[in-house]
């Protein structure tokens, strides 16, 4: 039996029914093994019709359970046949009938009910038997189970997924009962009966019965909150109970602490109080109801500690909504010696936590501004909680003091919190209620107030907190360490907020008692404690050892302890510690220590990548709080990039870069950009290589994944540099004052570089780095570097453009050779003869620049001619000029995004003439005025887009999923293309592509596992960015496409292409957001690019057929696509094969065809076909027809792309 068994299908039920005799331990109840046989007996006839269904259900259930539960191989030597759900249900029916017999009861308690617990929901058809048991059975153990299952039936809100109990899934009983009309029992039938019976229980005032009463009330609260009828009933019951027992004045000390002291009656009462408040806590909050609040406040004085906890929890919830009435109602409890003070000594941690929250919300409430006496009482109570023996309570109190209450982050509140913490004094009331301590109470140890001599002395809060935290950091318990680090992190947040608001301009180095003197000036501001000035001024601050009595000193010693905690073996604790350190880091402090900690932490392979990305996001949040820290944070981010490139998400890093760059402000931009580009100097261990990527082979030998990741990071950095250098340098061609001619005069390269760097060091620095990359990076990086350079060249004015031109020219020289040799054997990696191998890539870039310079020269010449001849410009001449302008604009737009309305490819001098022509012919320039790229700077635009990209993980997932396919397509395209003969390059490409393909889902997987619904600070912030930029992005899109020809959708851009109009697709927005598949992306790109052939039409571009033109995607197309094409620069190779022979055919005479086979659309722009369908063929693109159907298909689409081979053209 043992060997042949399929152990993979073992369920929990199998486990529980397996023969315990084989288990090592002696099981006290060996009976379960016998159960199946007993249960398998035939049952009463009236269930017969149901049985067949049930058996089937049982099979379904087991199968489902096997599929669902991730149960792995469990070696089992012996196993009985597991009990089925149906058997269990049957035996309940049977045994219920004979519930008066001891044996039945035993059977139920020991076998049937425990096994039923394995299932995650309970069939309503069991309910009648349960109710019968409930009425007739006297056995407490049976009844306890009956209440348990009744509660589960009540709580199972019909939706299977939401039932609280886990376990083996049971089928949808209601549906089955409906089908099986005879004798079917649905929830709708049984619930009223259950509720009625339980209500009767819950209102039964018989003192002997009151244990059942409590259980019934508890079971009743399990009903789903949606049923208002039951809710009303519940409120009625609860208030009814409280009416009777709530008012009774009771001395808590007797009831609670003297355990044996209470008489039976008061015990009963306190039990009922407990049950009623517990139920009330589970009911929806009713803040407007005075009775609700009244009962809750009564609860504070109840004897039962759990009841008090619930009462406080309810009150603190209500207090966040209606602080005024709560404060008024609590007025007599907060007074010295009142009930609230007693809670300080209550042995229930959560009660004190609720107390802290209550005190916080009342002491901060704006509604209570006129009652400083009340608020101060609450804050002093809160401060006393800082002394609480429980870490949980103390930390909650610290967080409350710091202004961290819920997940909403308000800077003012946090800043005020830091001030409070640093300046407030805790002064205990004169007579702390030590006397309340009850010596014969077993829980009295908690009550022991701190050694009174110490506690009585007024203490600055900060000191108390620091000491407490320091001692917590010495704990061995990981939860305590984690929590303490979290508190320090929150402290850092509050401190950062205080700095950000400038509230905290006082030097931290001042002795602490100095604060106590000027503290009262802040009282009014922050509603602080109203201790008399006299006491405060005489505060004798006890000098700690070493005289570290300044806040700075305290912080330093705390941080010292925090740092040592990094030694904890738990990565989560360490992560929290690092986050805390990041938050406590101040802009002016040295960050070496932090850096070295992080650096050596990251060498530990145990770090999960989700956690690392979390820390990166912390950096992000930290930057948000203190923009001054951009450079510091980027330095830290760099460590991540060097140490664990394989684990961090390049998107997260890019996000950080962009935030830092954009947020750094005008004067910080330079440093921010510098810090980003430090990544280009990776990896540090090889200072010899400029970029480190030459050593990529060596690295990959040890860890190919991280080598690839590092490579991608560098690519990302280079790309980032190209896109954002102009923004960082505030240098735009369309804002440059330098006339084009001046640059031409400085043809001496040295002079030019000198002039450039003196004028704009940021841009000059970026250029130098990019040039270095273009020379000596790996093959992939060089390509991107060249693209980045051309982007900068196009966007910047002189002398940068010329400088780049010179550089590119030099770079391409080697490549020219292969160009001449019919370019068929060009391989891009031929480092020997052709130098950089970038010739084929660079030549079209150079040609664009050539065109621009030539046109500029022509313009200058023409202008001079006109001036000399005192001739007006004729309309014809102007038109020609304008056409050149437009043509060049189109050309330039292929490489990078430029604002069309402002960009002057012919130089600033052309502005006037073009303006004249535009005015004369009413050509609108609306594009430029509301163009966000101009208004906010280009980087903002990118930033917004990629923000979106980062957020829309789903979208990315989709594209990632397609990635490998595309990669294969490219690889295939390459094989029979030009590159087939170059084996090493092929390998590299394949490796790269394959790496790119497999990498992404990995990340995605982790993302999935760890993604939670909870909204945190980071989420919120990211979301807010998302929202703000979304609008902007849309704007950009629409303005990008506002040239009349491109109306936005792929189809129109394709067809407009054949209409022969100008400037179509690359600027057209993507068809449907970011979820579009890569297929459609690249195809629309193809079309657009192809169009560029026809539109520019100049001899320069005809017949080159190089892929290069296709690479620089438009700026406004998504960053995703941009990246795709960056990473796969040869993407276009596959597309090279398409002919242009039938280009014009489609648009003129419609062609008809018939679908030969069924075809299922694989992307948004594809069209599903059924064999035999008649279609109209619009045109052919790269092996695809664009066809239109006569009527919409099942998916409602009329037109789209289908493979040529699927359609027979007539």
């Amino acid at each position: 039996m043992a060997s042949g068994q399929e152990s993979s299908g073992t369920t929990l039920m199998d486990l529980i029914t397996s023969d315990p005799a084989t288990a090592a331990s002696a099981a006290p109840t060996p009976a379960p093994a016998a159960a199946p046989s007993t249960l398998g007996k035939p049952v009463a006839t009236d269930r017969k019709s149901k049985r067949a269904t049930l058996t089937q259900i049982q099979n379904d259930t087991i199968a489902a359970a096997k599929a669902l539960n991730p149960v792995r191989a469990i070696p089992q030597r012996q196993r009985k046949k597991p009990v089925s759900y149906a058997q269990l249900v049957r035996s309940i029916h049977e045994l219920a009938a004979t519930s008066d017999q001891k044996s039945s009861q035993k059977q139920l308690v020991q076998h049937v009910f425990p096994k039923l617990a394995v299932y995650n929901s309970v069939d309503p058809s069991v309910a009648p038997s349960l109710l019968m048991l409930h009425q007739q059975c006297e056995d407490r153990n049976v009844l306890r189970y009956v209440y348990y299952y009744l509660a589960r039936i009540l709580s199972d809100g019909g939706s299977q997924g939401l039932s609280p109990g886990g376990g083996i899934p049971t089928p949808n009983w209601d549906a089955l009962a409906d089908i099986d009309a005879v004798g079917g029992v649905t929830r709708a039938d049984v619930i009223p009966r259950i509720v009625n019976q339980l209500t009767a229980d819950a209102t039964n005032a018989d003192p002997e019965f009151h244990a059942r009463r409590l259980a019934a009330l508890k079971a009743l609260t399990s009903t789903s909150a949606s049923s208002s009828e039951i809710l009303e009933k519940l409120y009625e019951i609860v208030f009814g109970i409280l009416e009777k027992v709530g008012d009774a004045k009771q001395k808590r000390r007797k009831g609670l602490f003297g355990k044996q002291g209470g008489d039976k009656e008061s015990n009963t009462r306190s039990n009922l109080q407990y049950a009623a408040l517990s139920a009330l806590r589970r009911l929806p909050l009713d803040p407007g109801n005075p009775a609700f609040l009244h009962r809750a406040i009564q609860g504070i004085s109840f004897a039962d500690p759990v009841a008090v906890r619930h009462a406080l929890a309810i009150i603190s919830d209500v207090a966040t909504r209606d602080p005024y009435s709560v404060a008024m109602a609590l007025e007599k409890h907060i007074e010295h010696g009142g009930a609230l003070h007693d809670i300080l000594h209550l042995h229930d941690v959560l009660a004190r936590v609720s107390l802290a929250r209550l005190c916080h919300s009342l002491s901060r409430a704006r509604a209570l501004d006129e009652r400083p006496d009340i608020t101060s009482q609450f804050s002093s109570l809160l401060y006393q909680l800082l002394l609480d023996p429980s870490d949980r309570v103390c930390f909650e109190a610290i967080l409350c003091v710091l202004g961290k209450f819920d997940n909403t982050e308000r800077t003012e509140e946090r800043a005020a919190g830091w001030i409070r913490l640093t300046r407030e004094i805790l002064k205990l009331p004169e007579a702390p209620s030590v006397t309340l301590k009850d010596s014969d109470n077993p829980t009295a140890k908690v009550n022991t107030v701190k050694p009174s001599s110490k506690a009585k002395r007024p203490q600055p809060l900060i000191k108390l907190v620091m000491r407490r935290l320091e001692s917590s950091f010495r704990s061995f318990s990981r939860p305590v360490l984690h929590a303490a680090a979290r508190v320090v992190q929150e402290m850092g947040k509050s401190r950062a907020a205080a700095y950000a608001l400038g509230l905290y301009d006082v030097d931290e180095g001042i002795q602490l008692h100095a604060y106590s003197e000027n503290a009262e000036s802040l009282d009014s501001e922050f509603n602080s404690s109203s201790q008399s000035e006299g006491t405060r001024k005489t505060v004798p601050v006890s000098n700690g050892p070493g005289g570290m009595d300044t806040i700075a000193g305290l912080l330093a010693s705390l941080l010292e302890v925090v740092r040592t905690t990094v030694a904890c073996e738990c990565v989560y604790v360490r992560a929290m510690v690092i986050k805390a350190l990041i938050w406590m880091q101040n802009p002016h402090e040295s960050l070496e220590e932090l850096q070295s900690i992080i650096a050596c932490e990251l060498s530990d392979p145990a770090w999960p990548s989700a956690l690392l990305n979390d820390i990166l996001l912390t950096l992000h949040a930290r930057f948000k709080a203190t923009p001054d820290m951009a450079v510091t944070l980027l330095e830290i981010a760099r460590i991540f990039a060097t140490k664990v490139p394989g684990k961090i998400d390049a998107d997260v890093l890019q996000l950080l870069w962009k935030t830092c760059l954009v947020g750094a402000g005008p004067e910080g931009k330079h440093t921010a950009l510098e810090a980003v580009t430090i990544v280009l100097d990776l990896p540090p261990p090889h200072p010899g290589s400029m970029l480190g990527l030459t050593s990529v082979d060596r690295v990959s030998a040890s860890d190919p994944k991280s080598a690839l990741a590092l490579q991608r990071l560098v690519q990302a950095a280079v790309w980032f540099l190209g896109e954002n250098a102009n923004y960082a340098a505030s240098e735009y061609a369309w804002e440059s004052a330098t006339p084009p001619g001046t640059a031409l005069m400085m043809l001496d390269a040295d002079k030019m570089v000198a002039a450039a760097s003196s004028r704009n060091p940021t841009l000059a620095g970026a250029l130098t780095r990019l040039q270095r990359c273009a020379f000596s990076g790996s093959w992939e990086v060089r390509i991107i570097a060249a693209q980045a350079l051309i982007t900068i060249a196009i966007r910047s004015g002189e002398p940068y453009r010329l400088q780049i031109y010179e550089f590119l020219h030099a770079l391409s020289l080697g490549g020219v050779q292969s160009q001449f040799s019919e370019s068929q054997i060009s391989n891009g990696e031929d480092q020997g003869a052709s130098g950089t191998g970038l010739g084929s890539l660079i030549s079209p870039m150079l040609k664009v620049l050539d065109e621009m310079y030539r046109a500029q020269d022509d313009l200058i010449r023409d202008m001079r001619n006109h001036d000399n001849n005192k001739q007006e410009w004729t309309d014809e001449e102007l038109k020609k000029l304008y056409e050149t302008h437009e043509k060049l604009l189109n050309l330039v737009s292929l490489f990078c995004y430029v604002p069309r309305a402002k960009y002057l490819p012919l130089g600033p001098t052309s502005a006037k003439l073009i303006e004249i022509y535009r005015n004369r012919h009413n050509i609108s320039t609306s594009t430029g005025l509301n163009d966000p790229a101009v208004a906010t700077g280009i980087s903002d635009l990118v930033y917004g887009i990629s923000e979106l990209v980062y957020e829309s993980k789903e979208a990315e997932k989709e594209s990632d999923a397609i990635d490998p396919e595309l990669a294969m397509a490219w690889a295939a395209g390459l094989e029979d293309g030009l590159w087939g003969k170059n084996a090493p390059a092929m390998e590299k490409v394949n490796e790269f592509l394959a790496g790119a393909g497999t990498d992404a889902p990995d990340v995605e997987e982790e993302e999935n596992i760890t993604s939670r619904p909870s909204v945190t600070y980071d989420d919120l912030w990211a979301k807010s960015i998302l929202e703000t930029y979304e609008a902007e992005e849309d704007d950009a899109r629409s303005s990008g496409t506002s040239s009349p020809e491109s109306t936005g959708s792929v189809e129109t851009s394709i067809s407009s292409h054949f209409g022969g109009m100008s400037y179509p697709s690359l600027f057209s927005s993507r068809p449907s957001g970011y979820g579009v598949s890569q297929n459609s992306e690249s195809r629309s790109g193809n079309n657009g690019r192809r169009f560029s052939n026809t539109s520019t039409g100049g001899p320069t571009f005809e017949g080159i057929g190089s892929p290069v033109r296709e690479e620089p995607p438009s700026y406004s197309s998504s960053v995703l696509q941009r990246f795709e094409s960056l990473e796969n620069p040869l993407a276009g190779r596959g597309g090279q094969s398409f002919g242009s022979q039938d280009e014009d055919a489609g648009s003129q005479n419609p062609q008809f065809g018939k679908a030969l086979y069924d075809f299922t659309a694989g992307g948004d722009d594809e069209l599903s076909l059924t064999a035999g369908e008649e279609v109209e063929i619009d045109y052919e693109v790269d092996g695809w027809y664009y066809v239109k159907k006569k009527r919409p298909g099942r998916d409602g689409r009329m037109g789209g792309l289908v493979p040529v081979l699927y359609v027979s053209s007539s």
């Binding site: 308690v109 096994k115 153990n141 939401l162 209470g262 589970r282 929590a483 999935n1008």
Partner: protein, 147 residues
Amino acid sequence: MILAVLFTNADGNILVERFHGVPAEERLHWRSFLVKLGADNLKGAKNEELLVASHKSVFVVYTILGDVCIYVVGKDEYDELALAELIFVVTSSVKDVCGKPPTERLFLDHYGKICLCLDEIIWKGMLENTDKDRIRRLMRLKAPTDA
């Protein structure tokens, strides 16, 4: 909110799970996340040694008791310390029910009781009873405090 309580055996088979306010489609993620966490970290851990993990604002505290791994997940007021409190109550009640740190067999033999005692400890995603005696009394359908 206590989001989840999960008991598994040493091989990562789920013995008991209770979710509160976790959508069905996320439960699978949680299960595999927790089981992986335990597989990575619980090897060689001492009985009842508390381990901690967190993700954003959600906290996880877990431990091993006999052959059984226990995980609790919470957020908001149920932070790592409150969860440590909770897991302490759970472990001590389980020990109470089983009489000692349970083997897997022992645990399964007391399955019903353990479900009942969880029911007393956590009620609708909130910690209810923490006192061992009280839990024991309530499991037998007696009043929490009695003369």
